[in-house]
């Protein structure tokens, strides 16, 4: 779990996870676009995310595609949110989302 928190402590790495959430399964080149950083820098950050299990890769032909792996964050959630609290927690989070989406309309 230390590796997950260390990986998440960096804003660039969180941005990379945001990009994968928007569109899962991207190549290194795709992830480098719109990021003001060298290919080498992005590659290094992806390595840290992969080491923490937050990103997994699959080869498709000659391209390596990066996917967001929800498992480590799910384990964090399970550690601190008890079984009986989950339904309420989910409902209250949804209440907030509904109210705030309404405000954005």
């Amino acid at each position: 779990m230390d590796e997950v928190f260390k990986a998440l402590a960096d804003p660039t790495r969180r941005t990379l996870l945001d990009r994968l959430r928007e569109e899962n399964g991207q190549s290194l080149s795709e992830l480098c676009q719109r990021l003001d950083m060298s290919r080498q820098g992005v590659s290094k950050h992806l390595g840290v995310l992969e080491g923490a299990g937050l990103v997994v890769t699959f080869r498709e032909g000659r391209t390596k595609l990066h996917y967001l792996n929800p498992a480590p964050i799910g384990e964090i959630y399970d550690r601190w949110i008890g079984r009986f609290a989950r339904e309420r927690e989910r409902a209250l989070r949804e209440l907030k989302t509904q109210l705030e989406e309404e405000a954005d309309d």
Partner: protein, 130 residues
Amino acid sequence: MTEREFVYVTYIEATPERVWEALTSGDFTEQYWGGGRIESDWEVGSPVRHVKHDRGMDWEGEVLEYDPPRRLSYTMIAREGDPPLPCRLPARAERIDRETHPRARPPGREGAEGSRLRLACDPLEPQVAL
């Protein structure tokens, strides 16, 4: 001493009046309570029911406090499954004032209109509930 089973505090970008509506309107509760809606006339002493889409009911309780748009409290007693214990659910929504709570807002959203919602579940002794 009250032992709290569950405590939830969150900042919501909406007025306390809207938060209140989200907590008490049947139509609104349907949008976030997966699989049902909360129904009550919200008079103190009236029943509160969680009615599922198949018209079954998994819990019911009684309105203890109704003071819009700030303080709401009702009991929840399981008819089937969750909640595991009979409990009392107090909720409070308060306007977050920029001067008094400068740090209550998420970074970058300091100018927005918002509320803080606090909600808890306090177990009731089973004999009290029955």
